[in-house]
């Protein structure tokens, strides 16, 4: 009986150790939002990793949509900040922006996203890495 408990406890410990490896925190920040505009559904997905960012939007209506991301990254060797804004091409149903930094010394700090349907900003969000 006692050995059965020991066996179960050992298994549990092994499981906890294995799980601890699988739940290493993912260094990312993300946001998801969905709603309707003029009776049609839209959704906005924002993600910010240390060296990548994404902003994507889908809309079921006929208006053109676009995404803007204003972001801030640093050169960790010289602690110099960089600021930029990227804008997607306005188009129907899907629009997206993405940026991926090529050097490991460059790290994103934060990003602000604006999601537009036609000329109107329908959703804004900010992510901090």
């Amino acid at each position: 009986m006692k050995s059965k408990y020991l066996k179960n406890i050992s298994l549990l410990i092994v499981l906890i150790i294995l799980l601890s490896y699988s739940i290493i925190p993912v260094f990312a920040s993300s946001d998801y939002y969905e709603s309707t505009y003029n009776g049609y559904n839209y959704d906005c997905r924002s993600k910010l990793y240390s060296n990548e960012l994404y902003g994507e939007m889908n809309y079921a209506g006929s208006s053109k949509i676009s995404v803007e991301a204003s972001y801030h990254f640093i050169d960790t060797i010289y602690m110099i900040p960089y600021y930029d804004i990227i804008t997607s091409i306005p188009q129907n149903s899907y629009a997206g922006v993405a940026a991926q930094l090529m050097d490991p010394q460059l790290n994103f700090i934060d990003a602000y996203y604006i999601y537009n349907i036609g000329p109107n900003a329908v959703y804004t969000t900010g992510l901090i890495y």
């Binding site: 204003s70 972001y71 801030h72 990254f73 640093i74 050169d75 960790t76 060797i77 010289y78 602690m79 110099i80 900040p81 960089y82 600021y83 930029d84 804004i85 990227i86 804008t87 997607s88 091409i89 922006v97 993405a98 940026a99 991926q100 930094l101 090529m102 050097d103 460059l106 700090i109 934060d110 901090i128 890495y129």
Partner: protein
């Protein structure tokens, strides 16, 4: 009779209101003009040439005062850099909190050239008067929605087109450095074409030469330094052991750089020799940036491991590499906040506790080396 009196009083009140509004507008113009008269002791080339700072094309010293392009999309003005930064708008009925405000430019890159502030929004070059009024579009730099990186220098905007979003990003396909004259309707021109532009770290313009700093593919080295003569069109590699933006300076004769945890180097541009001229004795942790100005070299040591903006010490050297003074800057709060050195403006060294916001601290240069060096708060 009484009715006429009322009419007269109302008329006087209306005229009074209009006159006070006009006075407010003209006062703003007058203040900015006065500061030009009091500060304009340097040649225009001093103000129109790109200078080192915390980030390209966001902080401007001009004969009319100091301008700061903030992350919030607004342009701020300070008379000497150490005085309160106010949104650059003189519209009497503006609450300075909407895209209709004269100070709202949305994008960040600003430059000065002969009594005008120039700024980039997307692919467009625009300008405004020094008091923030009279915004107008000048020309498009290129077609489409790609981003660009660059800065204003001596009447031109120099830039690279960054399809990937930024320099240092994957996806950049255009290997040209362009420039466009800011005050006429001429088309942009290609200054140089080279694949090093695709891995551009920074570029520096000195006279007729352009220096390109490229991210080094060798992980043990930081950057490579190239020179390009706009006259002879010669492209030369100077060294593959250079540093990045924030730790070097180039003039007609020499290159200057700081190698972290080693010291100050000088590169002789005529003999191509690079020598360690001043070893430094900082703790062997953290990292440094170095900004070279006519009077001083500002070495900033981020002395924690890993390096952090919360822990930084400013070392001030003269141009012969003698350490004159040092002071801790501990005003940056929050793990995701960046802040610190902004620039050297006339009598002051400007700092910010948060780079996303307007500058809020300064050093009075007359206090350097006196034993009384301190950070002063830029008060409202």
């Amino acid at each position: 009779m009484l009715k006429n009196m009322y009419r007269l009083i109302i008329l006087i009140l209306i005229v009074g209101c209009l006159a006070s509004c006009l006075m407010l507008v003209s006062c703003n113009k007058k203040n900015i003009q006065q500061s030009a008269e009091s500060l304009n002791s340097k040649p225009e080339s001093y103000y129109t040439s790109y200078k080192q700072g915390f980030s390209a094309a966001r902080f401007l010293e001009t004969p009319y005062g100091t301008y700061f392009s903030s992350r919030d999309g607004y342009l701020y003005y300070s008379e000497n850099g150490n005085a309160k930064y106010i949104k650059l708008c003189n519209k009497p009925d503006c609450n300075h909190n909407s895209i209709d405000c004269n100070a709202y430019i949305k994008w960040y890159k600003i430059g000065y050239y002969y009594k005008k502030i120039y700024y980039i929004t997307g692919n467009a070059l625009n300008c405004m008067d020094m008091d923030g009024s009279n915004h107008r579009n000048i020309k498009a730099l290129y077609e489409g929605y790609d981003n660009n990186f660059g800065y204003f220098h001596n009447g031109y905007y120099y830039y690279v087109i960054t399809k990937g979003g930024s320099i240092g990003a994957f996806g950049n396909e255009d290997n040209n450095l362009y420039r466009v004259k800011v005050d006429d309707d001429s088309a942009p021109e290609i200054v140089l074409t080279n694949d090093a532009i695709l891995r551009l770290y920074m570029f520096t313009i000195v006279g007729e030469d352009i220096y390109i700093i490229e991210f080094n593919a060798d992980a043990t080295k930081v950057a490579s330094l190239y020179s390009f003569s706009t006259i002879s069109k010669n492209w030369t590699i100077l060294t593959d052991n250079w540093v990045g933006a924030g730790a070097y300076y180039l003039d007609d004769d020499k290159g200057y750089c700081y190698m972290r945890n080693i010291g100050f180097y000088e590169y002789d541009l005529t003999t191509n020799e690079m020598n360690l001229v001043k070893p430094t004795e900082l703790d062997d942790i953290g990292t440094c940036s170095a900004f070279y100005y006519p009077d001083y070299i500002y070495l900033i040591h981020y002395n924690s491991n890993p390096p952090s903006y919360q822990s930084q010490i400013l070392y001030i050297y003269d141009r012969d590499y003698n350490l004159i003074d040092s002071i801790k800057f501990d005003k940056v709060y929050g793990k995701s906040t960046t802040g610190g050195f902004i620039g050297d403006v006339d009598k002051y060294v400007i700092f910010s506790s948060n780079y996303n916001e307007k500058p809020d601290y300064y050093i009075d240069k007359s206090e350097i080396g006196t034993g009384n060096l301190m950070f002063h708060k830029i008060e409202d």
